[in-house]
């Protein structure tokens, strides 16, 4: 049996600092919102012309006076991702850009993907993204509250907030882009982290009924160990699937799968070192669950 409980304090301090650091990053550095949430234009283009490279593209775009333009390689040697604000809200901006590029590079440029999100839509998408995550957290809270005692709910919710905040904090730190698929990833992380926590809690509660004389400090450790191989196997298979998406699934899914990979790792960690320690700190005992069962 691994003595997870020996490190409860250390890891709690670590988690609290991670959350605080993440919050500081989120407040002061902020998130790198993509055009879904910020508005603007994204063009993914492919060119077989050797004249086309990041700097020649950047020159070309800067001449068009589009404001802040970002030009990046995107996966392949021949693919580029260009993003800019459409500050004057010009109607035919994409056609103008295309014409302009064709003029300088000949007709060797193929627009593989174009996204143009107006300011009104991006504001709505951001709002609905925030609502979606809030509703998800609220629903999880209600669900776990129905299923378990309040001490357990508190533990699970703390674990959830930890995972969401630290994942977003990491995105802020690394300057990775937040777009619609990241919202999907965060929601899935919420589901996954909850799932992981609930499995251990289920065992904790079962053991609470079984052993009246074991203190919660020991009991959580027993429960973690009993469910450990399941926790690891599921995390590993999920990570295998995610790593496969990350490596082979194409550029578009990179952000999504990376967010999920972080989330699964944090989720696994938090169900061991956050959810359980809260039970210990709230001094949950057999009485806690029996009292509740009498009431029902």
């Amino acid at each position: 049996m691994i003595a997870f409980n020996k490190y409860y304090n250390q890891f709690n301090i670590l988690s609290i600092s991670l959350v605080v650091i993440s919050l500081l990053f989120l407040i002061f550095k902020g998130l790198n919102f993509g055009i879904d949430f910020k508005g603007g234009i994204l063009i993914e283009l492919r060119s077989t012309d050797s004249k086309v490279n990041v700097s020649s593209l950047r020159d070309r775009f800067n001449q068009m006076d589009l404001g802040d333009v970002s030009v990046k390689k995107f996966g392949n040697e021949t693919d580029y991702l260009i993003k800019f604000e459409n500050k004057d809200n010009k109607k035919n901006i994409i056609e103008e850009v295309k014409k302009n590029l064709d003029k300088s590079f000949g007709n060797n440029i193929d627009f593989r993907r174009v996204e143009n999100v107006g300011p009104k839509v991006s504001a709505e998408l951001l709002r609905s993204g925030i609502i979606a995550i809030s509703v998800a957290l609220a629903l999880m809270l209600i669900y776990i509250w129905i299923r378990f005692e309040w001490q357990f709910s508190l533990g699970a919710i703390c674990a959830l907030f930890h995972d969401v905040i630290v994942t977003l904090g990491l995105f802020s730190l690394l300057g990775l882009e937040i777009n619609l698929s990241i919202i999907a990833a965060v929601l899935t992380i919420v589901g996954y982290s909850m799932n992981d926590t609930v499995v251990i809690f289920d065992r904790v509660r079962e053991n609470l009924r079984k052993y009246a004389d074991i203190k919660i400090f020991e009991l959580t450790n027993i429960s973690i160990n009993e469910t450990l191989s399941r926790t690891l196997i599921t995390s590993i298979t999920t990570l295998l699937a995610l790593v496969s998406i990350f490596i082979f699934g194409g550029e578009i899914l990179k952000g999504f799968s990376l967010a999920m990979i972080f989330g699964v790792i944090f989720g696994t960690y938090s169900s061991i070192y956050i959810a359980n320690t809260i039970l210990v700190r709230l001094n949950v005992s057999q009485k806690t669950i029996l009292k509740d069962e009498e009431k029902n």
Binding site: R113, G129, S181, V190, Y192, I233, T237
Partner: protein
């Protein structure tokens, strides 16, 4: 938990085989209509264009209020009440009236049987709201009045948008209402939406008006530019003829002038008016105006009585075709703005499919190998259930002809990764039970029953996340929520029916041998 009745086994087999058969219809062509189903590919996989259009209702509201000022003046004149100092600004009419008549006016507006301010019984609201503002009375559309106006202009716009897109002839466009002032257009397979965007960007408000001799911006005149931005003309505000009177419009090569023109034919009312105007106005210039810009302003040579004519204006064949198309399909009630556009070229779509399938195959193999190494014989059972799970998932998606997007493929891969969770929970539990329980059957049975709540909890939480995504997400993300959500049900089915059935078969065959999980 271990007993299966014969009936149940047959039931499980029928469901599985049925769904697998449906799934296979993505690969083979069936003649049967019921089996002839396919998973729809989302725009991000097959390529295509997604456009979200917003109707700019401001001109409509102002036009309506403009008309209303005349109606109000005439109506109250009939009641011997004089309304003066009309001002139209910020979607609001302001006017003055004698102090003694004020209450009368207010009463007429607020009467449920009012002739000028319709009352909607269903919404308990009038169309217009009247309030006192300093010396003025102010009239605006009420909340319900505005909603009515918006939905009606949305309905008209939807019809016109549909006609224009149908005329261009793209395959299976999807044109839907969103809210009360938006229209969503999905155009599968279209990689360059430029033409459609140009066509939808035009209100196509056509009018024929005389060029005025009076060269000043006065009440009855306005200065309009030519479409090519070269020169302008003072044009009368009086409309001789509008696009509403048009029956048909076609591009044609005018061999005499050697240029492309648009010919049109008018309905009876239009023909009469056109005839009258051209006979009176011989020698005058008649301006043909589209969306506030003059296309051309030819001098009338002769009376045009036949109800048909032609518009020239230095068109190319393409621009003449487009103009004819716009005139045929009619004018939009209000300008449309494209507020969101997402276009994926077919080559990227195919690349995404390829990448998604490779990621799925590799992810699948990795998980399968890991499980075999971990669980040996029970790994084979888990993997069999996993493969069937995948087929069932594809089967259900095909059955409902769901739309598969790139995030949707990610959802399937994720399902593969998470689906083993339930079996792992069960096997780990059985392992524990086997330590204390000598009777294998009892150990297996309690392993299944004791792991049940954890499995249920785990899947409900994921399902909750998927449901929220379904309702909040758009397009591609919705595709993810669908595969994730459906995956949960097929996972539970494959774990509790397929894997359990296989487990039962295995232990009843090996009654006397040692079983190790």
């Amino acid at each position: 938990m271990l007993y299966f009745s014969k009936l149940k086994i047959i039931f499980i087999l029928i469901i599985s085989l049925f769904l697998i058969l449906i799934a296979s219809s993505n690969l083979f062509k069936f003649d049967n209509n019921f089996l002839k189903r396919n998973i729809n590919l989302g725009l991000d996989l097959q390529g295509g264009s997604y456009l979200l259009l917003e109707i700019d209702n401001k001109p409509v509201i102002e036009q309506k209020l403009q008309n209303l000022t005349i109606t109000l003046r005439d109506y109250f004149k009939g009641k011997n009440i004089k309304l003066v100092n009309f001002i139209l600004q910020n979607e609001k009419i302001l006017f003055k009236v004698n102090e003694k008549d004020k209450q009368k006016v207010l009463d007429i507006f607020n009467d449920k049987k009012s002739e000028i301010n319709p009352y909607y019984e269903r919404f308990k609201s009038h169309q217009l709201e009247i309030t006192e503002e300093n010396d003025f009375l102010s009239v605006i559309f009420s909340k319900q009045g505005l909603i009515k106006l918006k939905t009606s202009s949305q309905e008209q716009a939807l019809e016109i948008v549909r006609r224009r897109i149908d005329e261009v002839g793209t395959n299976e466009p999807n044109i839907l209402k969103r809210g009360n002032d938006r229209i969503l257009v999905e155009l599968p397979g279209l990689d360059d939406p430029m033409r459609i965007k140009t066509l939808l960007g035009k209100t196509a408000n056509l009018t024929f008006r005389f060029v005025s001799n009076n060269n000043e911006d006065s009440f009855g005149n306005e200065k309009l530019n030519y479409e090519d931005e070269e020169g302008s003309e003072f044009v009368s505000k009086r409309i001789i003829l509008s696009g509403d009177n048009l029956l048909d419009a076609q591009p044609r090569m005018d061999s005499e002038a050697n240029e492309t023109v648009v010919t049109f034919s008018l309905d009876r009312v239009g023909a009469k008016r056109f005839g009258k105007a051209t006979s009176k106005g011989i020698g005058r210039q008649l301006a043909i105006i589209l969306d506030g810009k003059i296309i051309s302003a030819p001098v009338i040579q002769d009376t045009i009585a036949g109800g048909s004519g032609q518009i020239s204006g230095g068109f190319t064949f393409q621009s003449a075709t487009d103009l004819a198309l716009l005139l045929r399909s009619g004018a939009l009630p209000a300008p449309l703005n494209i507020i969101e556009e997402r276009t994926v070229g077919p080559s990227l779509g195919q690349d995404s499919i390829d990448a998604g399938i490779i990621a799925l195959i590799i992810g699948f193999i990795l998980v399968i190998v890991f499980i075999i190494v971990k669980y040996k014989i029970f790994g084979i059972i888990t993997n069999t259930a996993l493969i069937i799970n995948l087929l069932l998932l594809v089967g259900v998606l095909t059955l409902f002809e769901a739309t598969l997007t790139l995030p949707g493929i990610a959802g399937i891969i994720l399902t593969v990764g998470m689906a083993v969770d339930a079996n792992v929970l069960i096997f780990e539990r059985i392992r524990e039970e086997l330590k204390n329980e000598k009777n294998r059957l009892i150990a297996f049975d309690s392993g299944y029953s004791k792991s049940k709540t954890a499995i249920l909890d785990a899947n409900i939480t994921t399902l909750l996340a998927a449901i929220i995504l379904f309702f909040m997400g758009s397009g591609p993300i919705k595709g993810f929520s669908i595969t994730l959500g459906v995956g949960i049900f097929t996972t539970l089915f494959s774990v509790y029916f397929i894997a359990r059935l296989l487990t039962v078969l295995y232990i009843s065959k090996n009654k006397n041998k040692e079983i190790v999980i």
